[in-house]
């Protein structure tokens, strides 16, 4: 079983993380779109932390002895998923940066040529 102490510690960490994320969204330094997965993850772990009974049930269903391991396991899965989504997003972003920079270079050259024609 989880002790009340670890329950409190995990709960406190989650609340702090939640406040930080909400603050960052407020200051627009984190896009809601990308924060959403974090918020969902925190919400789930928080529910499990508050109601360890649920945890015991799910753990025994999955054949995990200590429910606290279940929290770590779930958190780990969520993190992996988020990191993977980020890698996909990054690939798309780098493709966009590439297209944009190429367009900038091509347009700049066109401007140069036009200026030269104008001067001549």
């Amino acid at each position: 079983m989880m002790t009340a102490k670890i329950q409190l510690i995990i709960g406190a960490c989650l609340i702090v993380a939640l406040i930080m994320i909400v603050n960052m969204i407020k200051r627009r330094s984190l896009e809601l779109k990308y924060a959403l997965s974090w918020l969902v993850a925190i919400f789930f772990v928080l529910v499990l932390d508050c109601f360890p009974v649920l945890l015991v049930k799910i753990s025994s269903l999955l054949g995990i002895w200590a429910p606290v391991n279940m929290i770590f396991f779930l958190g780990f899965c969520f993190s992996l998923m988020i990191i993977f989504i980020l890698t996909v997003t990054l690939s798309r972003m780098s493709e966009r940066v590439r297209k944009l920079s190429q367009a900038v270079a091509l347009n700049e050259e066109k401007i140069d040529q036009l200026m030269k024609e104008k001067e001549a």
Partner: protein
């Protein structure tokens, strides 16, 4: 018949002017464009000062992204042939005519300038030659085509391939991968014997430390290209 020489340049301040002069002297009816891939040295300043024709990338895209900019330029400006040409003095512009004539006569889609047909001139280190042989064998196994110099940066393509490459081009270490891509589409890829020089300035983009990553990445890229 409009033909373009695409010169990707990253930190080539010392050799870029000579490269362009070589083209203007030995292949005067070829247009050229330098792609400055956000060089850290004075490449851009040298180009502007000497009045060289340059496309300036605002961020460093790597060789693939730089060369692709050249293909986009070629597509936008209606070029019939485009050739990649290193800015470090390795390639010799006197082959440009012969290569284009060969392509027109033989209806070739891509003509690769190969060091390993007549085996003259700079042949690269033995370790590197081994790597090139390995890619040759891999391409032969996967596509059946015999390419003796798959990493050669001196490659001429027709309008068909310009369109393809303007649209999709690999990002880093693009040469072998992009050859396999068009071989798989049934395009006609041939080689032409050329003589290359040892680079006069600068260092290869592939340092010894990166070569393992290079081998693994390019192998995977070629395999992925095979199942595409």
């Amino acid at each position: 018949m409009k033909s373009l020489v695409i010169i990707p340049a990253y930190n080539e301040e010392k050799s870029i002017e000579n490269t362009v002069r070589d083209i203007m002297q030995n292949a005067p009816e070829f247009d050229y464009v330098i792609i400055n891939d956000c060089s850290k040295d004075n490449t851009l300043a040298v180009c502007k000062e000497k009045g060289l024709h340059v496309l300036n990338l605002p961020v460093n895209l790597g060789i693939g992204g730089a060369v692709q900019t050249g293909y986009r330029y070629a597509l936008q400006n209606g070029y019939d042939y485009a050739i990649q040409f290193d800015g470090d003095g390795q390639h010799d512009a006197k082959f440009l005519h012969e290569m284009r004539d060969y392509m027109i006569q033989n209806h070739t889609d891509m003509l690769i300038g190969s060091r390993y047909i007549t085996k003259e001139g700079f042949q690269s280190s033995s370790l590197r030659r081994f790597g090139i042989r390995y890619f040759s064998v891999l391409i032969k196994l996967l596509t059946g085509a015999r390419i003796t110099d798959p990493t050669s940066g001196m490659r001429m393509v027709n309008r068909d391939i310009i369109k393809l490459y303007a649209n999709v081009y690999p990002k880093d270490y693009p040469e072998p991968e992009s050859v396999v891509a068009i071989l798989r589409m049934g395009k006609k890829v041939e080689e032409y014997p050329v003589i290359m020089r040892e680079r006069t300035e600068g260092v290869s983009s592939i340092s010894p430390l990166k070569s393992i990553y290079y081998m693994v990445k390019v192998t995977l890229a070629i395999l992925v290209e095979r199942i595409r």
